[in-house]
Symmetry: C2
Subunit: 346 residues, 2 copies
């Protein structure tokens, strides 16, 4: 349907140089001497003929495919996978890399399966990103160690693979800090009974910030399932225990907190402040009043992963140094309309 595309010989003829020179200029081959004037002439000729270098041929020569692979656990079940993919893809495009995706099954144990990694290696990806949200640490298969790799959301048990994590603890502490600043002293935490890294990090952050504010009150922690029903049940108990603010482990629990407040006749935020975590669309803007919550750095983690991987591929990354200290990205409070000073102080 389209005319035969221009070849490297056509460009060479138009620019009056050899095909080798065209190749050196367009592939920016290191350690070759071509004058800037000649290079300009080659680029103009290539543009005029709409010539595009054959990436397959280039890949064979350089042994680089300019493709990076993203393995995500349970892409369809994780509400945030979209932003990890978007951050990784946009950073890949900026670096002229292709992002390939494979979904990996959610695993109970922390040992990553070698199979999806091998599928990427068979396709000669230059590096692999593994993204998980359910494990503190993962045990990498041998084949993941044979190629540049980075982790999103978990540490490498062997400390060899660079990793990036959200700062769940500081994020939770900043919520308590904000509520204390508004005058709250009875701040309940609707905690998740599920054993995942986010559960522990957020609870630690809540407890540390409460202790910092000299508000230790273990009676104001209630556990529930990390969903609307769990949040409903925990919030009923927290209201009855005297909480003027309820900090929910996640936005889904906050949905239930709103129902509990309505049943107890407490208006949000006048009688009860509620804060969530995750900024999981469409929940915060679907609640009335809109939910104040905490944003996770998923886009940023995806972009960091590609940036770090590109440095490792180029041999610029100090692999072991990066891996020994996982990079931690901040979680920030997204203020909406569900927080006000406690009733007694107004």
């Amino acid at each position: 349907m389209t005319a035969k595309p221009a070849g490297i010989r056509d460009v060479a003829a138009l620019a009056g140089v050899s095909p080798t020179t065209v190749s050196h200029v367009l592939n920016e081959t290191p350690h070759t001497r071509v004058s800037e004037e000649t290079a300009d002439r080659v680029r103009s000729a290539a543009a005029e003929l709409d010539y595009r270098p054959n990436r397959l041929a280039r890949g064979l020569r350089t042994q680089a495919s300019d493709m990076v692979g993203l393995l995500t656990e349970e892409i369809a079940a994780t509400p945030h996978a979209g932003r990890i993919i978007l951050g990784a893809q946009e950073e890949a495009t900026r670096r002229n890399l292709t992002l390939a995706i494979i979904n990996s099954e959610l695993r109970q144990d922390p040992a990553i399966s070698a199979d999806p990694v091998q599928a990427f290696l068979d396709r000669h990806v230059d590096g692999v990103i593994y993204a998980t949200v359910y494990h503190d640490e993962i045990i990498a298969p041998e084949n993941l160690k044979s190629r540049p790799a980075v982790l999103i959301g978990a540490r490498d048990a062997d400390g060899l693979i660079p990793a990036v994590l959200p700062d769940e603890t500081a994020g939770a502490a900043s919520v308590v800090g904000m509520l204390v600043a508004r005058g709250h002293r009875h701040i309940g935490f609707a905690a998740s009974a599920e054993d995942v890294p986010a559960t522990r990090g957020r609870l630690v952050g809540y407890e540390a910030a409460m202790a910092d504010a000299r508000l230790d009150d273990s009676a104001l922690i209630e556990y529930g399932a990390p969903d609307a029903r769990g949040g409903y049940e925990a919030t009923l108990r927290l209201i009855d225990a005297g909480a003027t603010a309820v900090f929910c482990y996640n936005d889904r629990m906050a949905i239930g907190a709103y129902r509990a407040a309505a049943e107890r006749g407490r208006a949000i935020p006048e009688d009860l402040s509620v804060v969530g975590f995750d900024d999981q669309a469409p929940i915060p803007d679907s609640l009335y009043p809109a939910l104040t919550t905490v944003t996770l750095p998923h886009y940023e983690m995806g972009a960091w992963a590609v940036e770090t991987l590109a440095a490792l591929i180029d041999g610029q990354g100090q692999h072991s140094l990066i891996a020994a200290h996982p990079t931690v990205l901040p979680c920030t409070v997204a203020e909406r309309d569900s927080v006000a000073p406690p009733p007694a102080t107004r």
Copy 2:
């Protein structure tokens, strides 16, 4: 960190054949004569040496990259993109294809940008999938016509590119049918004021099914924004107009319908039945009672796209025949707990 991988010559030596024969067997090259016994010996040797054919070299020879590209509009903003990607990726893996992803900006006009398509073509993808949820029809750029391509969620204005769509109309009609079967006669529709294909298809399905049941009642259609506030306002008006059931354009509007029912003192489902559309996690299971809604075939559309693309790449697809008749996949009712017979009939 790993030993030098086995090459094709190592396999040839172990099997006692030429490297060409190894290539023919492992690449399943058509029109070559190798006895089944020899082929077995080659495969055994390859397995023993853990030899994997160089896909880059093979791609250069066959001009096939075994990679297909998925372009999605606004991947992070579309709640269903995850299931489209999962369906496409799992089908790609079954066919030994790699799925590469690029996010395309959401466009106001139906003309697809040539740039992200070109980014895939530069990488020698064997075919391109374009997924959108905001347009009835798209106008394909010239470069998309130079390679096998399929569309998800929209028709090609020129009728050249095969497309797959959800059957919004039949999905909406089946909700009305279910409510009529439960005894409802005053079935309100909280319609979206937004101009996207889903809005029109669902409204047409509601009106057609109401007419079929001889329940034409244009007074029971109320328009609102396609979010919780829009659903809240529309449902208040529908309750006041006498509706015993409210069918919401989407699940986000249903969140507002629950609030409107609570404010009017109507228990769900005893006093008011509510149905959504989209089955958008985590909404249906986060509402109390859990929301009966309609599931969209996103996984199936992603899988269909890769299957159809693979047929076109292999030259088996009857391109124009497929394109002339977009494939329509069913939307099915997911029954939960928000529907009961109307109060008068119990």
